[in-house]
Symmetry: C2
Subunit: 251 residues, 2 copies
């Protein structure tokens, strides 16, 4: 079995934005699908893990693009595991066209949890450390690793939304991609007419449920760089908790 | 070329709801993709039409389901043209599993417009009435045609939302599927724990742009049947205009 998985996708018309380019959230969804296809083919996919009370949890995702696929363009997502530690693995992505054109890259960090205790679980305990057979160190992923998103106290509350039915996935939480979409929606189309997203970083901290409220705090940290802290108000306790942090860089 | 097109899809994890079933909006998206694959293969797809200043505009869509595909299930969408008139065609859909299981059906009505004048255009003028070679009358679509959604004046304003970046497609309007998703979001997860959507009808009237506001007026018209009128407030004129009407039937 090849250590690197390659999966073909198409930029569907309804997944493209006003400019006819694939939306970053839908690309992120394709990356997560590719990750699960790759893991499933090698014996550590979600379905198998759930049977032994384990699950992958996405901890960080960074996507950096030269260019977005256009409507109806075919493209491939290559994915591989760069490294594994006891509680975390690093998985990388390359988004390339049939002609070899490189659209961009992704980096992600995944934790494994015990689905009963919700505590971190030992990745090497799965099939006697089988994941070590799939580590690829020779394929480059020439984008920076995601740093911790540092934010001060100057971040401004720019939007509050309610969490609805469509935000929630089978785990009962807001799905990882929906946060990205809500953050991207903080800017308007006239902005996107003259700016593209160069890089998007997200680090997940806590889970959000239907009925919670999500608050978006935004801080400009560079010429075209913004950091966003998402905070939820729990519907039962009315307590505020940080849910995730994002950094978005435009060109 | 077979008159009936058949396209395979998979219920992607992030397109499934809390219950692990494909969301109706994503199914609708697959139907629209199947429609364009079918039309493209037969010489009247969107890409070809845009070159001659024509476009298909979805006028009505009805989806009626026995059961929704579950996470990671493969399913097929069969689509065919039931009839064509000068300004409208009826296109049907059957959603079936590899094992022949019928998940449900869809019906749609499409108009053709001149993309320069935005006026209705003659469908039979395309390649000398070529569409007539693809009409299928012998394949049944055993769900009712969509009636006009009749609503009184008792409908209650239940939600107002702003139109964001992700609502807008390459035509610069709110995409057909997003309306469906926003309507479905009017109900909460505890409701969907005990009710499934049996049938969803939508009739499109006018276009919405980024910056407009969308108001949802809801009226209960049967035991488990609701009609929803969407009205936009145009950001420039501040005028209210009806955008679409939906009917949603639960079981």
């Amino acid at each position: 079995m090849n250590k690197i998985g390659k999966y073909e996708f198409i930029a569907e018309p309804f997944h493209c934005d006003f400019s006819g380019h694939l939306c970053l959230g839908h690309l992120g969804n394709h990356l997560l699908n590719a990750a699960d296809f790759h893991a499933t083919g090698r014996g550590f996919g979600m379905k198998h893990l759930l049977g032994i009370h384990r699950a992958w949890v996405l901890s960080r995702l960074a996507i950096e693009m030269n260019e977005m696929p256009q409507q109806l363009e075919h493209f491939n997502v290559e994915t591989w595991i760069e490294g594994a530690m006891r509680y975390f693995t690093q998985r990388n992505f390359e988004i390339i066209g049939d002609n070899g054109k490189v659209y961009g890259y992704g980096r992600s960090v995944w934790a494994m949890i015990d689905t009963e205790t919700r505590q971190p679980a030992d990745i090497f305990a799965i099939d006697d450390g089988a994941i070590n057979h799939f580590i690829v160190t020779e394929k480059p992923c020439p984008i920076e690793k995601g740093d911790r998103v540092k934010m001060g106290n100057q971040a401004e509350l720019v939007r509050t939304i309610d969490v609805y039915y469509h935000d929630i996935d089978i785990n009962g939480h807001v799905n990882s991609i929906k946060y990205i979409e809500h953050v991207i929606d903080l800017w308007v189309i006239p902005w996107y007419r003259v700016h593209q997203i160069k890089r998007f970083d997200i680090a997940y901290v806590a889970e959000t449920h239907q009925g919670d409220q999500l608050h978006f705090y935004r801080e400009q940290t560079g010429d075209l760089t913004y950091c966003i802290r998402l905070v939820k108000t729990d519907q039962n306790t009315l307590q505020d908790t940080e849910v995730c942090r994002c950094k978005i860089q435009f060109t």
